[in-house]
């Protein structure tokens, strides 16, 4: 009896604070928005009740559930969000509803399905996930063959445009190094470059990514593993391939040095106004 009295009290309070002068406070500039405000207010009335049932089920403490529900009803933000067309009112209602359902049914698949469903709805209502796209795109740029071999994105910070971190002829050695190294040793070598790459991807100054240089010794280790794997294989064909690739790398080195000493200064001269810093 006492319980129902308290819940009724919360309900009456919520009805009054959510619906009274709903069309006037805050001022309504477009009549079409009133019906959505009504839904928002309705959810504002029900949500504290859902919170009550969820806490009652999960904590099994009646007083704790009642008081939490009441305190939530009193909060300025819960009154404010219930009286406007709010993109967070429905996600909050749904969050508590799903928590209630998950506390009733403890099946892991059911809980994961609810989580998935909730995240999808949240994405549509409030596409926060899109914030991650930018660092992800940076991350893929940093992990691309383009950056590794063909283009340096730090041109404006002293890089040379047409050469990446490695020579093209090193690529087969790099790939083979990845494959041939035992998993534990590869993880040990590659963990630091991975951390560095993650840090650069989240940097607000991207594409300024000179920190990438920290990964160079580790790439050298993997390339060397690849070269040794090729060379230590006694087959004459493998040794021939190694020699050929190393010969091409000498040509690429000469290309690089020629570019650096002849063309790079021209590139810098024509872009002098765009350089953000001296180097």
């Amino acid at each position: 009896m006492k319980r129902w009295f308290f819940i009724s009290l919360i309900l009456i309070f919520n009805l009054a604070t959510r619906f009274w002068r709903l069309g006037m406070v805050p001022p309504l500039f477009d009549d079409h928005y009133f019906s959505v405000r009504v839904i928002s207010a309705g959810l504002g009335v029900i949500t504290p009740l859902i919170l009550y049932y969820y806490l009652k089920k999960s904590s099994a403490r009646e007083k704790f559930a009642q008081l939490s529900s009441f305190i939530f009803s009193l909060l300025p933000s819960s009154i404010i969000e219930s009286r406007i067309v709010s993109p967070v009112q429905f996600p909050l209602f749904l969050l508590l509803l799903f928590l209630l359902l998950a506390s009733v049914n403890k099946n892991i698949t059911f809980r994961l399905a609810l989580t998935a469903f909730y995240l999808i709805i949240l994405f549509y209502i409030y596409p926060i996930v899109l914030v991650l796209i930018w660092p992800l795109s940076n991350l893929f740029t940093l992990l691309s063959f383009d950056l590794l071999i063909f283009h340096n994105i730090t041109f404006y910070w002293g890089g040379i445009r047409e050469f990446g971190l490695l020579y093209l002829s090193f690529l087969p050695f790099l790939l083979l190094g990845f494959i041939s190294l035992p998993s534990i040793r590869l993880t040990k070598i590659f963990i630091i470059p991975l951390i560095v790459i993650f840090l650069i991807a989240f940097s607000p100054t991207f594409p300024e990514s000179r920190l990438f240089y920290l990964t160079a010794p580790f790439f050298s280790m993997i390339i060397t593993s690849g070269i040794l794997y090729f060379w230590e294989n006694k087959k004459i064909s493998m040794r021939l391939i190694t020699c050929l690739l190393l010969f091409i790398s000498v040509y690429e080195l000469s290309q690089f040095l020629h570019h650096y000493h002849v063309h790079y200064k021209e590139d810098i001269r024509t872009n002098i106004n765009k350089l953000p810093t001296n180097f």
Partner: protein, 544 residues
């Protein structure tokens, strides 16, 4: 027995899902027929009714289309659907959707035969079929009549029968037949199929039996004979417009070569200049760069193909969740030394070759054959990661993440694409043709701006214009515009103007002339009698 029944049940469920995702609203999604789809559809209709293509050629071995040449097989496969269902969007897209669904089943069969000695082959085969079923890349190509879906089907069918032919010769010979036939489906396969064929020879000792290779050569020769005859009449039928899209046609490399040579200056020794700056080095680097651009994470998992019309808003060619499974799949494929693992790797690399030789990269269309190895490698990644973590929670988590990611793709493809990309798919011509058809008796001339989208093909397609009559009436000079496209100048009372001035047309307008012009080419603020609108409310075509 129980496991077999369970596998069968799962496979049927996957195929039903694949069919649903490929046939649901096939006629209206993508929102309009792309000009290449309409051209294939009308040519199939023309061949069915008159035995000749729109140019009046009798059952050609390559179809001339807007200055390009299209292999005939996808068009020929449209004929039964058009015969039964008439000339409409669904009939044109039916072969792609049907063969797309069939490739899901073929994937199951092919994976089982490729991983023949591996105990988990059934699970990986089912997983691969499922991955292909929900693949954004595969769904997009299955629902649009763009050649490559048909090509992939015949390549996979030929490969499967070829490998199955290790036990029975008849399968082997059918395998050879379908592999050879695949070169009539897509130009890229004229490079891919021979390379796959060479690798298959290492996996199939049967070929080296005297009787088998004699018969195989006979089949290959018989199937490509029409192509050889076609080539003797017109060399373009072999590689179409490959020359104009080739990396060597692009002037970027030549200009860079000129720039670098100039920067070396007159004082530099010509031999040294040539040593550093030569076409071999620059083109070689460009081709390798093009090749690796197809393995860029931004293309695979975030932005996808940026070329028209293969763009899906906010979607990579693979699902984002696969960013974990693809690299791990590659790792397990090599480390676990699965049977015929190198065949899958070769297939993946070979599939990208045709695209690497062109200058518009990365290209999901030209590298589409890679969709099969991608699906299998991703499945191998899922299979081994799930076995490694071995818990119900892992499986549930993977399922949940797939579900979320797939629903995101569904939103992008089924809701955002028709709203945001209608212009890319040349939306509006169907509505415009239907409108004009009601009024055409009132006008002596109907003048259509031909600045983009090849509108003549839509007038032929949606009016189901008599092919024999069009072949007689069509006025076309076969002169290519600056992009290499050939235009039709007029037929019947329809006149297509490549150089179209809206202001001049409005000043000189007479009562017996109706004008149609894409809204992008009309100055803002001008008022018109009638307009066709895109689904997002913007004007597509103005009619006055």
């Amino acid at each position: 027995m129980l496991t077999n029944n369970k596998n069968l049940f799962i496979l049927i469920a996957i195929l039903l899902l694949a069919g649903f995702l490929r046939f649901y609203r096939l006629g209206s999604l993508p929102p309009s027929l792309y000009s290449d789809e309409a051209a294939q559809g009308y040519n199939a209709y023309s061949l069915f009714n008159s035995g000749r293509d729109e140019h009046g050629r009798f059952w050609p071995v390559s179809l001339r289309s807007f200055g390009d040449w299209k292999p005939p097989l996808p068009t020929l496969l449209m004929i039964p659907a058009i015969a039964v269902n008439g000339l409409n969007e669904t009939s044109v897209r039916f072969p792609g959707a049907f063969l797309g669904t069939a490739t899901v089943y073929l994937t199951y069969l092919l994976v089982k035969i490729l991983l023949i000695n591996f105990s988990g082959k059934n699970k990986i085969a089912l997983l691969s079929s499922f991955i292909l079923t929900v693949s954004p890349w595969h769904i997009l190509q299955s629902r649009a009549a763009m050649l490559v879906m048909v090509a992939l089907f015949f390549l996979m069918l030929g490969t499967y029968l070829f490998l199955k032919g290790n036990r029975r010769m008849i399968y082997f010979l059918f395998g050879v037949f379908f592999l050879t036939l695949s070169v009539y489906a897509y130009y890229g396969l004229r490079l891919v199929t021979p390379l796959i064929f060479i690798i298959l020879l290492f996996l199939s000792p049967r070929f080296f039996y005297r009787k088998t290779w004699l018969l195989s050569f006979l089949i290959i020769f018989s199937v490509i004979l029409p192509l050889i005859i076609g080539y003797l009449n017109n060399p373009d039928v072999i590689f179409g417009r490959a020359r104009t899209i080739s990396v060597f046609y692009d002037q970027g490399v030549n200009l860079r070569l000129w720039e670098l040579t100039t920067q070396d200056g007159l004082s530099s020794d010509p031999l040294i200049t040539r040593f550093f700056h030569n076409r071999w080095y620059l083109y070689g680097k460009q081709i390798v760069n093009n090749f690796f651009s197809h393995f860029d994470g931004r293309y695979l998992f975030l932005a996808g193909d940026q070329s028209q019309p293969f763009k899906i808003p906010g979607q990579g060619i693979l699902l984002f969740i696969e960013v974990v499974f693809f690299p791990s799949g590659l790792y397990f494929l090599i480390k676990k030394n699965l049977s015929r693992n190198y065949f899958l790797l070769f297939w993946l690399l070979i599939s990208v070759l045709p695209a690497a030789l062109t200058f518009m990269v990365p290209s999901s269309n030209r590298s589409f054959n890679a969709v099969f190895p991608y699906a299998v490698i991703i499945s191998i990644g899922i299979y081994f990661l799930a076995s490694l973590l071995n818990s119900k929670l892992t499986s549930s988590l993977i399922t949940m993440l797939y579900l979320i990611n797939f629903l995101y793709f569904m939103n992008s493809y089924f809701l955002l694409l028709p709203r945001d990309n209608s212009s890319i798919w040349n939306y509006g011509w169907r509505e415009a043709v239907t409108y004009v058809k009601k009024l055409e008796k009132q006008y002596d001339n109907i003048i259509i701006s031909d600045v983009n989208g090849m509108p003549y093909i839509y007038f032929l397609f949606y009016n189901q214009y008599d092919p024999a009559q069009f072949q007689k009436e069509a006025v076309r000079s076969y002169a290519a515009d600056r992009f290499g496209f050939e235009h039709v100048e007029s037929f019947s009372k329809y006149i297509f103007q490549y150089e179209f001035d809206v202001k001049l047309a409005r000043q000189n307008k007479t009562a017996d002339t109706l004008y149609l012009v894409p809204a992008d080419f009309v100055p803002e603020g001008e008022k018109f009698g009638q307009s066709v609108y895109y689904p997002d409310g913007k004007a597509a075509i103005r009619i006055f």
